[in-house]
């Protein structure tokens, strides 16, 4: 019996360093994002939780690491190359510039992209057969950005001049054309302002004021989503009704959001990451599109900027934040 105790103590002593060594050898999943460290939530937790639900627990079965470009798209290239040098098993890239940098850095490591429109951006050839070393989740931004303009017009039916806040690194010409077409049909005028970094936000709002914009369509973009706090504050300051991509922006000052649920898109990204970790062939793994869309309206914001939303619109909303 006394030997059992000794054996157990020895086993425990021996086990600790072995475990520590294993942790460093875990397969590396590198995530490329435009955000700064203080804006990575709630996406980081949602993605980690979605992976853990599939048995890919950070620190136990995989090593999940965020590589942040902190608002500078030109940093993606270096970050992607570093992940390749560290022999990452899967690279998860969020947004067009991150995906492009990952594609340039490697032709063998599987890339799981989460981007606004993978086909329209030319990142993959088709959803069914993406080809190369990439697959991912395409969140229908081309259709949704135009649809957002239509919903915003329904919310503020009297408005004639609409501002469009765009991130040129993510907005392909096809998307701008779709928005311009819809604006023509709705009989409204558009004023576009580009945001390439945090410094462009304040001038963009100043130009909207000069141009007389009455409402703002904030286009789908990881950068604009990362800047949502700043955008929300300015929207409230300028008392402008706006429609954003995700619910998260509505919580901080955007009047409404319409589009896919971020948690759905991240769960799909996690499932594809899991497939790649199991040895799936990215080029033969169909890219996916979410099928659930939600309209979220913030009544508090509506009241503070003096907008009255018709009960019919509120009735059609999936969630109304009071």
């Amino acid at each position: 019996m006394k030997y059992i105790g000794v054996f157990l103590i020895l086993a425990l002593c021996a086990g600790t360093p072995v475990f520590a060594q294993d942790a460093t050898n875990l397969p590396l999943v590198g995530v490329l994002r435009i955000n700064t460290p203080d804006t990575i939530e709630p996406m980081a937790t949602q993605f980690r939780t979605a992976l853990a639900a599939l048995g890919r627990v950070d620190g136990r079965t995989i090593r999940l690491e965020y590589r942040l470009a902190e608002g500078h798209v030109e940093r993606f290239s270096e970050l992607a190359q570093a992940l390749v040098a560290e022999n990452a098993r899967v690279i998860v890239a969020l947004g067009d510039p991150a995906v492009r940098a990952a594609q340039q850095a490697t032709r063998s490591i599987p890339i799981v992209a989460l981007a606004d429109d993978l086909v329209a951006s030319g990142l993959i050839s088709s959803l069914a057969r993406p080809g190369g070393n990439i697959t991912g989740v395409s969140i229908l931004a081309t259709e949704l950005d135009a649809k957002k303009l239509e919903i915003l017009k329904q919310i503020v039916p009297g408005a004639r001049r609409f501002g469009v806040l765009s991130d040129p690194a993510n907005t392909v010409p096809a998307r701008m054309r779709a928005i311009a077409d819809r604006a023509r049909k709705l009989g409204i005028e558009l004023q576009t302002a580009d945001v390439r970094g945090a410094g462009d936000v304040a001038p963009a709002f100043a130009s909207f004021r000069t141009g007389g914009a009455e409402a703002i369509d904030i286009l789908a973009s990881p950068l604009l989503n990362a800047l949502r706090q700043e955008l929300g504050r300015l929207l409230l300051d300028y008392r402008l009704p706006a429609i954003c991509q995700f619910r998260e922006a509505v919580e901080v000052g955007c009047l409404a959001s319409y589009g896919v649920r971020l948690s759905d898109a991240l769960a799909m990204t996690a499932a594809l990451t899991d497939k790649m970790l199991k040895g799936g062939q990215p080029g033969d793994t169909p890219a996916e599109q979410p099928t659930r869309f939600e309209l979220v309206i913030n009544q508090r914001v509506a009241r503070s900027i003096g907008i009255e939303i018709s009960p019919a619109i509120l009735d059609g909303a999936d969630e109304v934040i009071e």
């Binding site: 086909v119 088709s126 959803l127 069914a128 395409s138 229908l140 259709e143 949704l144 135009a146 649809k147 239509e150 819809r182 049909k185 169909p286 890219a287 996916e288 599109q289 099928t291 659930r292 869309f293 019919a312 009735d315 059609g316 909303a317 999936d318």
Partner: protein
């Protein structure tokens, strides 16, 4: 002679050798027979065993195959039932929205009823209302543009012709942008026609 005598032993011995060999082969016929019997017995038993195992294998393979098929069939039946229930549910939801008096309501009211229906039935991506001639009166979509009285004709579309003839029509499943499965459903209810996605998650 001695020389002869001397030479004879080898001759004799050469005789002895075969005779001793003959003497040794005295039990030979019995041994050979025994071996033959043993071989025959082993062969018979072996063949019987092989046949038996082959039959066993064949039957268990058949049983296994049938069991697998049964399981697959049950799974497919269960999935089909769930899909059927799902479609029935959507059909009912559309039915509630488009009750008999509904068509007489103003266009705006109908439009908001559709929007509410989209909220209640997340599986529906698009709803199109056609008049008796198959012309589009109203379209409410989650992704595409909402349109009012576009007048686009669907008079020859199966969603219209088949639904008119049989009350309800379901299209084959198709893939939007070669990705998610969708299905169009045509329903006659004061001249309505609904397009909706197939139950992808089922």
């Amino acid at each position: 002679m001695t020389a002869v005598d001397k030479t004879t032993p080898p001759t004799t011995s050469s005789w002895i050798a075969p005779s001793s060999a003959a003497a040794g082969s005295a039990p030979h016929p019995r041994g050979r027979l025994l071996r033959k019997y043993a071989l025959l017995f082993i062969a018979l038993v072996g063949v019987a065993l092989i046949v038996n195992s082959a039959l066993d294998f064949w039957f268990s393979y058949q049983e296994h195959k049938e069991a697998l098929l049964r399981v697959q069939q049950e799974k497919a039946d269960a999935a089909a039932r769930r899909i059927e229930e799902f479609i029935d549910q959507i059909e009912r939801q559309i039915g509630w929205t488009t009750h008999a008096r509904w068509a007489a309501g103003p266009l705006d009211q109908r439009r908001f009823d559709y929007v509410r229906l989209l909220r209640q039935a997340p599986a529906i991506t698009e709803l199109t209302e056609l008049d008796a001639e198959g012309k589009e009166q109203l379209k409410v979509s989650r992704l595409a543009e909402d349109t009012v009285a576009s007048g686009e004709s669907f008079a020859f579309a199966p969603a219209f012709t088949e639904a008119k003839a049989h009350g309800v029509w379901f299209s084959p499943v198709y893939f939007r942008k070669e990705s998610e499965p969708y299905m169009t459903m045509g329903m006659v209810r004061a001249g309505k026609n609904a397009g909706l996605p197939s139950p992808k998650s089922i």
